[in-house]
């Protein structure tokens, strides 16, 4: 894929991306310390839909819950979706890509055929179909997003393996009689980790964005789980009267996805040997 971006000179992409990502991870890890209220239990109908104030920095929602606390806890949901589903994608994509590239033959043809079919199904639509089958819920989102977005990883891994398998010491390992699995995953895989890391980082961004979309449609996480997409979905009716309920979760999604995208871009620039 011919994506590339050098938004800023040098490594600014990488730095800004890493800072945003670390902030979000910190938010998720230290949520109980950072959040002024409990995201679900501290519901006080007396303060329903209050505008941002010194008590509630980001205002309150219809049930009188603190929006800021829910946004802070929401980072746990979004991050777990991004990391777990992308881990599944990476494992599937790398396994199929490495074996297809190294073993070749009928297995390669089969995997490439499968990958092409996967690529012809818009992954959002595929994820929707799986959510329809499994029903809403966090575990189901991991699966729906983890099973539908491995085709790019698979293709990139395969093409990397095809060139890596001609390297001298891989030949040497073959001559020494190493087993196929040992060569594939012990010798070749470490050589092709860079591009996989880049595409996985970008995949995390994609998964977080898609989870928000699915939850927005009502097919993702369900209330009262504080997920950013779910918060936006519930706040739709109140959007024109209490916009703060929608603005802050949206900003959180934006900042997180931007962080992972910049990190991915930055890693690519860092690892790209052709960079001037």
């Amino acid at each position: 894929m011919a994506f590339s971006s050098v938004v800023f000179k040098g490594k600014s992409n990488l730095i800004i991306g890493a800072v945003l990502t670390i902030l979000v991870i910190g938010m998720a890890v230290f949520a109980p310390l950072l959040a002024p209220y409990h995201p679900v239990n501290d519901a006080d109908l007396m303060v329903s839909e209050e505008a941002p104030s010194s008590d509630y920095l980001c205002g309150t929602d219809t049930q009188g819950r603190d929006v800021l606390s829910r946004v802070i806890y929401g980072s746990r949901i979004s991050l777990s979706v991004g990391l777990v589903s992308q881990l599944i994608n990476t494992l599937i994509g790398v396994f199929l890509g490495v074996t297809a590239g190294y073993l070749g033959g009928a297995w390669d043809d089969f995997i490439m055929g499968l990958t092409n079919i996967m690529l012809s199904i818009p992954s959002m639509i595929f994820a929707l179909a799986i959510m329809a089958l499994l029903g809403p819920g966090l575990i189901n989102i991991y699966l729906a997003l983890g099973l539908t977005n491995w085709s790019f990883t698979c293709r990139i891994t395969r093409s990397q393996v095809l060139s890596a398998k001609r390297i001298e010491y891989i030949r040497a390992a073959e001559a020494l009689g190493y087993g196929q699995w040992r060569i594939m995953f012990g010798q070749i895989l470490p050589n092709v980790v860079g591009p996989i890391l880049v595409i996985s980082t970008l995949g995390i961004a994609y998964a977080i964005l898609t989870e928000a979309s699915l939850s927005f449609l009502g097919l993702g996480t369900q209330p009262p789980t504080p997920s950013w997409g779910g918060m936006l979905s519930n706040a739709r009716e109140e959007f024109f009267t209490a916009p703060w309920i929608s603005i802050f979760p949206g900003l959180a999604i934006f900042a997180t996805v931007l962080g992972f995208n910049l990190l991915g871009d930055g890693l690519r620039d860092l690892l790209d040997p052709h960079k001037e």
Partner: protein, 309 residues
């Protein structure tokens, strides 16, 4: 070229066949079925009614029998009958496809007109303020949740400024198309800008560009005749592949703007467990994606005369 197009269209058949099997098996495993949901949901359904509905819809038969019945219909271009509306899926999908195509192509047009020139200028002015601003815009464009952007646009242009209608199809008026098309097109515009910039940077340092410059060709001619044309194949590839993402996003944008297209029909049918409609929508969306990619492949030979079919 005609023979090539024909061969490619023939290749659609196995692809659609395999996708139809995957979809059919997935969707027919759905828990909860329309027979139970069709009646009054507050009361437990009468088992006799459920049995009768199952027979009427043909879902009392085993799954492989049902698939072959479905496939027979598919071969004749018949997508089946909706469980709930008792209408042919072809008619339901047929009514919805035009709004979706209109929306997608409007978004595509916006992306091509803004994204490609933006990427081009960024690459030529590499490292300047224009480039930096454009690329910050582009990475933001691929990161912003579209439905949220749509909400913000609605708030600004409908509520505060009152310039545009907030939602609905509006009998096809252009004013109703503008916001959904921008919302849908923003991510794609950003992608095309990034892809174009990368492609131009790659082409710019090729030997033939240096040759062109060495023989005294004006910068204008170098940009237009040499860089632009050689870049287009790379940009087209991205445009074609990512069009699938655009089609996927129509689901959210249509739902947000109450746009009566395939995407909103798909979401409604999922909630209603109206499986034939869900299948129909998905297959038609995939077919649109396949056709767009075929057109892209055929365009290669137009922008690059070296490619022949």
């Amino acid at each position: 070229m005609r023979a090539y197009a024909f061969r490619r269209i023939l290749q659609f058949i196995p692809t659609i066949l395999i996708i139809s099997i995957i979809m059919f098996v997935l969707l027919n495993l759905l828990p909860g079925n329309a027979a139970l949901m069709a009646g009054d949901q507050r009361k437990a359904p009468d088992p006799r009614v459920v049995e009768q509905l199952k027979k009427e819809w043909g879902i009392d038969k085993p799954i492989h029998t049902r698939y072959f019945i479905y496939l027979k219909g598919l071969a004749r271009g018949d997508l089946g009958t909706s469980f709930l509306r008792r209408e042919p899926v072809n008619k339901l999908v047929g009514n919805r496809i035009w709004p979706t195509l209109r929306l997608s192509f409007a978004a595509l047009l916006i992306s091509l007109v803004i994204g490609i020139p933006l990427g081009f200028i960024s690459a030529l002015k590499r490292g300047t303020l224009i480039d930096t601003t454009a690329m910050i815009g582009a990475v933001s464009g691929v990161s912003i949740p579209q439905f949220w952007l749509g909400l913000m646009l609605m708030y600004l242009f409908s509520v505060i400024l009152g310039w545009l209608p907030s939602s609905g199809y509006g009998h096809g008026k252009i004013s109703h198309l503008i916001m959904p098309a921008i919302t849908l097109g923003i991510g794609y515009t950003a992608l095309l800008a990034r892809a174009t910039r990368a492609a131009v940077l790659e082409v710019m340092h090729k030997d033939y560009i240096r040759t062109a410059r060495a023989k005294g060709l004006s910068e204008f001619l170098i940009n237009w005749r040499h860089i632009m044309r050689n870049t287009m194949v790379l940009v087209l590839t991205t445009a074609g592949l990512q069009f699938g993402a655009l089609i996927g996003q129509t689901v959210i944008v249509e739902k947000l703007f109450a746009w009566p297209g395939l995407g909103s029909l798909l979401v409604d049918s999922i909630f209603q467990r109206d499986i034939p409609v869900t299948q129909g929508c998905i297959l038609v969306m995939i077919l649109v994606f396949l056709i767009v990619n075929l057109v892209v492949d055929l365009l290669y030979s137009v922008v690059d005369p070296r490619i022949e079919y």
